[in-house]
């Protein structure tokens, strides 16, 4: 077996010690030193890091490097395109190749933002036998942050990389033994040089995630639990505001809206925990903010659907879409201006400030359920919601109008929110397997809803186009083609509903719900 590739040490001066020790067994020939300065890039929500990768753009040699967090090994490289260097990058801005393919899969519609600079040096030593045949290589790696003004970086030694040569396993093991003896540790603990850059840029890996992860202590009261849940959502909303103002990518607005909606759901689902006037005031105010972003989000969604629409149509019907999407882009620019004007208003900032002030105030609430244990309250609400879903779902047959499915989707969404809020108070593995049972139904209902919305929107566009004289026949043909394809897809999605619902409405899931939420099993 080959020895571990990376070895790190915690104290300075270890490098000389290691080399001195290695020299007793092998002849060491220095093979030169390379150093490079690079700027790291990452999405706002750390998608690359979560996937175990770091993207950096080095100056000399001028290229993009995708490397593994774990051991810094280079996964793929790409040449640097053009002279213009935008502040943000999407996967489609990269030259065709492995880097672009990986980024497309991992980052999707998120932009890659510059996150500080680092310098790294690699000094290579060849370990030779007595015939001067190289039997193994050791690379001493050092790294450090470069400050914003491009000033000098102080490099700290991170460790040695052991590069074995094919056919010389024994020698590599001997070199590894020297490293181990001199206090180096193999494997984990290796710090990726990009971390220096992140720290210098004031970020820390995974310091932002849009996923709801509120950890509640077991004995918490309903009022305190709700405050924490709302504060979590408010934090997310506020962290996304700068990205919305800079119009970096569409996910900032999306996450902002999800956070608001989550809070609004919590306000309407968990009644009686805050004073009624608070519930009313902030419910209305948050809704007002969300409404101001509706138009922009709708247009974002339609623009993002472009690829999917093109895929639905045969090439001869695609021509009309160009004009449509150009028009949408114009509409989006106007919607963005209006949305930002609203968000910039002092009154909007005041709403969020007041909301935070209320959530951070320590005072005990006089609301009827404020002092109830959160766990019992959560279980009661979940139970109710689950029963409602079973009842509504069973009433849906082949002839039921689409609106019933939309209503069921909202019920399921509410259940999901409740699970996000109170999930940490329930046993984790059981909750996870329960959530898994729901996922398929949720996906089907979500897709069904999207298709209905798309269809309605395309129909409106088509009607508007027909009403206006001088509309190109190309556009009408494209929209007509889309309508029929979307209708087909919608029916196909609806046909899947029955099966998915039975996966949920069966004795084993009901028993699981009972075990989780207590009370009756919902079958009645």
């Amino acid at each position: 077996m080959s020895p571990p590739a990376v070895w790190w040490a915690t104290d300075e001066g270890f490098a000389d010690r290691v080399l001195a020790d290695v020299r007793r067994r092998f002849k060491i020939v220095p093979e030169g030193r390379q150093s490079m300065t690079a700027r790291s890039f990452e999405t706002f929500d750390w998608r690359l890091w979560e996937d175990g990768l770091v993207l950096a753009r080095s100056a000399r040699p001028s290229r993009w490097v995708l490397s593994r967090v774990e051991d810094r090994a280079i996964v793929a490289t790409a040449s640097k395109p053009g002279k213009t260097v935008p502040q943000k990058w999407f996967w489609s801005d990269f030259p065709v190749g492995a880097v672009r393919d990986r980024l497309r899969k991992i980052c999707g519609i998120r932009a890659l933002l510059p996150m500080g600079r680092f310098r790294e040096s690699r000094e290579c030593f060849a370990l030779c036998d007595d015939e001067d045949k190289i039997v193994c290589r050791l690379v001493l790696e050092k790294s450090g942050a470069v400050d914003a003004r491009g000033g000098g970086a102080s490099l700290s030694a991170a460790g040695f990389r052991l590069i074995p040569l094919k056919g010389y396993d024994k020698e590599a093991r001997a070199a590894a033994a020297c490293l181990a003896q001199m206090g180096c540790r193999a494997g984990d603990g290796w710090v990726h040089p990009a971390l220096h850059a992140f720290t210098a840029a004031g970020r820390e890996p995974e310091d932002y995630s849009s996923k709801a992860r509120v950890d509640l202590p077991p004995q918490i009261t309903a009022a305190d639990a709700c405050k924490r849940i709302h504060l979590f959502s408010l934090d997310i909303a506020e962290r996304n505001l700068p990205g919305i103002f800079e119009d970096i990518d569409t996910e900032f607005l999306h996450d902002f809206r999800v956070a608001l909606r989550r809070s609004r759901s919590a306000l309407s689902l968990v009644k009686g925990v805050f004073p009624a006037r608070v519930e009313k005031r902030f419910g209305e105010n948050l809704a007002k903010i969300q409404r101001a972003t509706n138009r922009l989000r709708d247009l974002d969604v339609h623009l993002l659907e472009r690829g999917a629409f093109e895929a639905l149509l045969p090439p001869e019907l695609q021509a009309g879409l160009d004009g449509l999407f150009r028009q949408l882009e114009g509409e989006r620019a106007r919607a963005l201006r209006r949305c930002l004007t609203f968000l910039e208003r002092p009154a909007t900032a005041q709403i969020l400030r007041d909301w935070r002030a209320f959530l951070e105030s320590p005072g005990e609430s006089s609301a009827p359920l404020a002092q109830d244990p959160a766990e019992a309250l959560g279980k009661r609400l979940l139970r109710k919601r689950f029963r409602r879903i079973l009842k509504d779902g069973r009433a849906i047959g082949a002839k039921t109008p689409d609106t019933a499915l939309h209503k069921l989707r909202l019920q399921v969404k509410k259940l999901r929110y409740l699970l996000e809020f109170f999930g940490s108070l329930l046993p984790a593995p059981e909750t996870a397997s329960f959530v898994k049972r729901f996922r398929r139904l949720q996906n089907i209902l979500g897709r069904f809803n999207d298709l209905c919305n798309q269809e309605a929107w395309v129909r409106r566009r088509l009607e508007a186009a027909e009403a206006k004289s001088g509309t190109s026949t190309e556009l009408a043909a494209s929209l007509g083609g889309l309508l029929s394809e979307l209708g087909r897809a919608r029916n196909a999605e609806r046909a899947k509903f029955g099966r998915a619902f039975t996966r949920l409405d069966n004795p084993s899931v009901r028993a699981r719900a009972k075990a989780l939420f207590g009370g009756k099993d919902g079958s009645k």
Binding site: A126, E131, D132, K133, K166, G167, Y168
Partner: protein, 247 residues
């Protein structure tokens, strides 16, 4: 994966120097290359400073797959690996003879390395044996270094006749002039006449050179210590000719 074999019935014609230098050039251009030293004299192995593994012999060479892979050694140069030679290879003929399809064994064994290498360069021993026939079968390009003398050209003809008689593949048979001394009128005339009449000769001519001879004491490919020499330029030219041919 392409296989180039440096082969001549006659010894001392510059086979090993060509094999090592061509393999080095290929690897330096990023082609994953394996140099197979099948000559029991192990000169290529010596040039690359490799010691043959203790348990290394003809059996593993014919087995192919993992058994063969384990005998391979990474050289000092990126992208260039070596299958070291050993005196054990002198028995190769007997081992091959004992097997079915005895002419195709080496080709099949090398085939097992397809994923790992893009190019295999074989330094073949100077004789006509069953091993030579295996090498001829395995090679996409059977490359014959020829000293521009009458005797040397005669062995080239012999080789050609032998391949024809034994119905061995002749499509990949090519030659180049090696150890040529431009000052010798006879050399110059032979080169001129042959290049005009035999299209199987590559135009690049490797000169007799002190720089090439230094490969012995330096124990390295020519390009490592004297990349600007006339001989180094000639090897680069030959490598270009070969690449055109392989394409």
């Amino acid at each position: 994966m392409k296989v180039i074999a440096l082969y001549n019935i006659k010894g001392g014609v510059g086979k090993t120097a060509a094999a090592v230098n061509l393999a080095y050039l290929a690897a330096s251009e990023g082609t994953r290359t394996l140099l197979c030293d099948l000559d029991p004299q192990a000169a290529a192995t010596y040039y690359l400073r490799v010691r043959a593994p203790k348990r290394h012999g003809s059996k593993r060479l014919i087995q192919g797959g993992k058994a063969l892979d384990r005998q391979i050694r990474e050289s000092n140069f990126p992208g260039l690996d070596l299958l070291p030679a050993k005196m054990g290879f002198r028995n190769l003929d007997l081992k091959l003879d004992a097997r079915k399809r005895s002419r195709r064994r080496l080709a099949e064994s090398l085939h097992s390395l397809t994923g790992a290498y893009e190019l295999v360069v074989i330094d073949a021993p100077p004789n006509i044996t069953l091993l030579s026939e295996n090498i001829i079968e395995a090679a996409d390009l059977l490359l014959c270094p020829v000293i521009p003398t009458t005797l040397s050209l005669r062995t080239w003809d012999q080789l050609d006749r032998f391949l024809r008689k034994e119905k061995l593949p002749r499509d990949g048979l090519r030659a180049f002039f090696s150890m040529a001394e431009r000052r010798k009128k006879l050399h110059a005339a032979t080169i001129r006449e042959t290049l005009d009449s035999d299209p199987r000769f590559f135009p690049s001519v490797i000169p007799m050179s002190a720089a090439v001879e230094r490969m012995g004491p330096e124990r390295a490919p020519l390009f490592v210590y004297d990349k600007r020499s006339v001989a180094a330029r000639a090897f680069r030219g030959l490598w270009d000719d070969i690449q055109c041919q392989l394409r």
